[in-house]
């Protein structure tokens, strides 16, 4: 079985985003970029499935600028076998990304697509579900555990208030949550070795996808300063509030 792992190059998890003074977006000039952390988990899961003998090949894909090659090299260093960069300097929305990935899936015929549940920049949480829809295949979102059983995939999902499990017919799309695994580091020797792994470059037009955005960003602004909430008089009131939050 072949596994397709889409990865996104995003602002590094440790960097505090700075909003541009003109409110047109977040300043990405000279900002450290890395692989979306949820996608790291996806790469790790794919590699583990390969290490277990469930998968035969792991193909990493990214839609983004030339620099997204670095992100793919990280995936290759972690253990992916080859990579495809769909190169574009435009900001591509999840819907268009899903369409491109659908095009790649048509060519590659993966048994499984694993990707992060959301990117930490736009926080959309859409691509995996959209891809599953376009492929007409089932989706196991927010996965905290994945197991292969015959022609099916058993996915444990993190849902509000706990977990649930679903059985999916393969091929399927899985999106990762934090608890799925702890991804390995892309070590420097492996980064160097990854330079010799194949990386194909394509363009959105190769898949006939129009990446023109459907959403216009009118402005981007600082969030309101977090305000002090309320003081509760006693423990019982606190317990009642915790119940309202669904914690207790």
């Amino acid at each position: 079985m072949k596994i397709l792992v889409p990865v996104k190059r995003v602002i590094d998890y440790n960097v505090k985003p700075r909003i541009k003074a003109d409110g047109t977006g977040v300043d990405l000039a000279n900002v450290k970029m890395s692989m979306n952390p949820f996608d790291e988990i996806a790469v790790e899961e794919a590699i583990r499935l390969k290490e277990k003998g469930v998968a035969s090949e792991v193909v990493a894909v990214s839609v983004g600028p030339a620099k997204a090659q670095e992100t793919l090299r990280t995936a290759l260093a972690m253990g992916a076998d080859r990579a495809i960069l769909v190169q574009t300097d435009d900001a591509v929305e999840p819907l268009a990304v899903a369409k491109i990935l659908k095009g790649i899936a048509d060519e590659e015929q993966p048994g499984l697509v694993i990707l992060g549940k959301q990117a930490i920049d736009d926080d959309c949480n859409q691509t995996g579900q959209m891809l599953a829809a376009l492929m007409g295949r089932p989706q196991g979102t927010f996965a905290s555990e994945v197991a292969c059983e015959d022609e099916h995939l058993l996915v444990t999902r993190e849902v509000d208030g706990g977990f649930e499990s679903v059985r999916l017919a393969l091929p399927a799309v899985v999106t990762t949550d934090l608890r799925l695994n702890e991804p390995r580091y892309a070590s420097l020797p492996n980064i160097m070795k990854a330079k010799s792994k194949p990386l194909a470059t394509k363009s959105p037009t190769d898949y006939g996808v129009d990446t023109a955005p459907r959403l216009k960003t009118v402005k981007v602004s600082e969030p309101p300063v977090r305000q002090a909430g309320i003081k509760v008089p006693d423990v019982d009131t606190l317990v009642a509030k915790l119940k309202e939050l669904g914690v207790a």
Partner: protein, 314 residues
């Protein structure tokens, strides 16, 4: 007037609160219709019809819709969208699972997790873990939206009397099946992936008191345990418990700070948490300036009582 279809989250009997907030958001866009899809969900359909401000309730009662599997529910919604202008779902795990599948089938770019309705097709939504608020305008013919529950007041659940219409969808798509629901894991979760964190500070006095005070509460809540740097420096817990600018950065749904004054270095590590709860005896402690819920109390009294009360209610 545009017609808005809201997907209702329910347990076949009652409507989940997040849906009521989604109804409020939808009502700011147009006429609100609800879809109650489930198995044996007539009671939920009836409850939905009671919500104030609803023009119509569709009920799709089919065993295939029992567990809100997106593969089955999405085609049902897509069918109804031929005579609706927008689809709205609460940004719950089920809503987030279903809505993008609907959006892709409609060839619409979804607007996730909206915080406000600023125009017929203009909304604000959080990006960068809430560190940047984007105002976006859609150019799609139809809208697909998920709604952050805490950003909108809840629609009144009773007082309405919308007509109920039964609808039939294509049922089981044959792609997926529901296996089981497990409410929680038994082992204590990791700090960085936990939905609830209980964190202790310097005020816990020593390692034994930290253990005896913080861990039972965390176990009762199925929460991970964290600590401020001062508590780590004082040797109460090892440094992999440390939350803050120089420790782990966390953003759980609920963060409970106990005996933590809230120095800026600590706040940097947890300020993106969903709900922040603080218990400290110093009412001027900076933590209370960002806490959603504060209890000014002696933690050695309050925390054991809190733990005890929660255990009793279980």
């Amino acid at each position: 007037m545009s017609k808005i279809l809201v997907w209702v989250e329910h347990d076949n009997a009652a409507i989940k609160d997040a849906t009521l907030a989604a109804v409020t958001a939808a009502s700011q866009i147009g006429e609100v219709h609800l879809l109650v899809a489930g198995s044996g969900c007539a009671a939920a359909g009836h409850a939905a019809s009671q919500i104030v401000g609803i023009a119509k309730v569709y009920v799709a009662d089919d065993v295939a819709y029992a567990n809100a599997l997106a593969e089955n529910v999405a085609p049902l919604i897509v069918g109804l969208m031929s005579h609706h202008d927008a689809f709205v779902a609460p940004a719950t795990s089920n809503g987030k699972n279903i809505a993008p599948r609907v959006a892709a089938l409609l060839d619409v770019m979804q607007i996730s997790d909206i915080l406000s309705v600023d125009g017929p097709k203009t909304f604000t939504r959080p990006t960068y873990a809430g560190n940047a608020i984007a105002t976006v305008e859609s150019s799609d013919a139809k809208l697909v939206i998920t709604v952050r529950g805490t950003a909108f007041i809840k629609a009144a659940p009773e007082g309405g009397s919308a007509p109920i219409e039964a609808v039939v969808g294509s049922g089981d798509a044959g792609l997926s099946s529901f296996v089981a629901a497990e409410i929680a894991l038994s082992e204590r979760p990791e700090l960085t992936s936990a939905k609830v964190i209980v964190a202790g500070g310097r005020a816990l006095k020593d390692a034994d008191t930290f253990q005896a005070t913080i861990f039972p509460l965390a176990d009762t809540l199925g929460a991970a345990v964290g600590a401020s740097r001062a508590a780590v420096d004082a040797g109460y817990v090892p440094n992999d418990y440390q939350i803050g600018q120089t420790g782990k950065i966390v953003a759980p749904d609920v963060y409970i700070a106990i005996g933590i004054s809230g120095a800026i270095q600590h706040l940097a590590g947890m300020k993106d948490s969903g709900t922040i709860i603080a218990i400290d005896k110093d009412e001027d402690a900076p933590i209370f300036q960002i806490a959603d819920l504060g209890l000014v109390a002696d933690l050695f009294d309050a925390v054991p009582r809190l733990t005890h009360t929660l255990q009793e209610k279980k």
